[in-house]
Symmetry: C2
């Protein structure tokens, strides 16, 4: 199971690192194809999964049924805009600790949690202000 270099995987990771909007597999495919036209969707999926397993990127499951990917593996959270569907980052230090210490009643063993927020992103806020003063 040794991992060998592939230009495709490198390009996928490179592209992801340039983006802060947590693109989907399809968006990755569309973009990488501009530098490497022969790449196939299957390869994109395979590498996104592999990179996620390796911990080099993060796979985000945000309730819209489509996987998003994030090259920023640091500890942070996400907000989904209920208007435009965009995904943006939030700093929210200590949520892990807070949830870990919350008053949780459960007879099994809790190992971790997934949290994301929804709301209205900065862009959409400005937009709605502009038209409804």
């Amino acid at each position: 199971m040794a991992i060998k270099y592939s230009r495709q995987r490198q390009l996928i990771k490179d592209f992801l690192m340039t983006r802060k909007d947590h693109p989907t597999a399809d968006v990755v495919y569309m973009n990488v194809r501009q530098k490497y036209p022969n790449i196939s969707l299957g390869t994109v999926y395979r590498n996104l999964s592999l990179l996620s397993e390796l911990g080099e990127i993060r796979r985000l499951r945000l309730g819209d049924g489509i996987d998003h990917y994030d090259a920023d593996t640091s500890d942070h959270y996400h907000v989904i805009c209920t208007q435009c569907g965009g995904v943006s980052d939030v700093k929210a230090d200590g949520i892990g600790d807070i949830l870990g210490n919350a008053n949780i009643e459960y007879d099994g063993e809790i190992q971790g949690h997934v949290t994301y927020f929804y709301g209205i992103c900065e862009k959409c806020l400005k937009y709605s202000r502009a038209c409804c003063p």
Copy 2:
């Protein structure tokens, strides 16, 4: 868009209220079919969506890519067992407030959050204890 009664919708909701394990659409279909053999999968999906919109049930998106449904609409959280995949309830009062007051840096407007936990459920815990003393 007035809503008219349908026996199928009633049976779907009735079934869901008897279950505490947050079944998927397919499981609902299999079970309702025993009382109403002609029901179609499409009808099950349509009604689960409708009931969710009406707030009579809750749709759970737990990161496994399959929607689960819960007739318990009270405020509670869920734990997904990493061993058996089962979904169970947790009481965790105050998480909403805690997250609302967390130290969150975000330039948009946060309206709410989704949180679920993962870990090992009671059954699987007992099971693993039994075989590894």
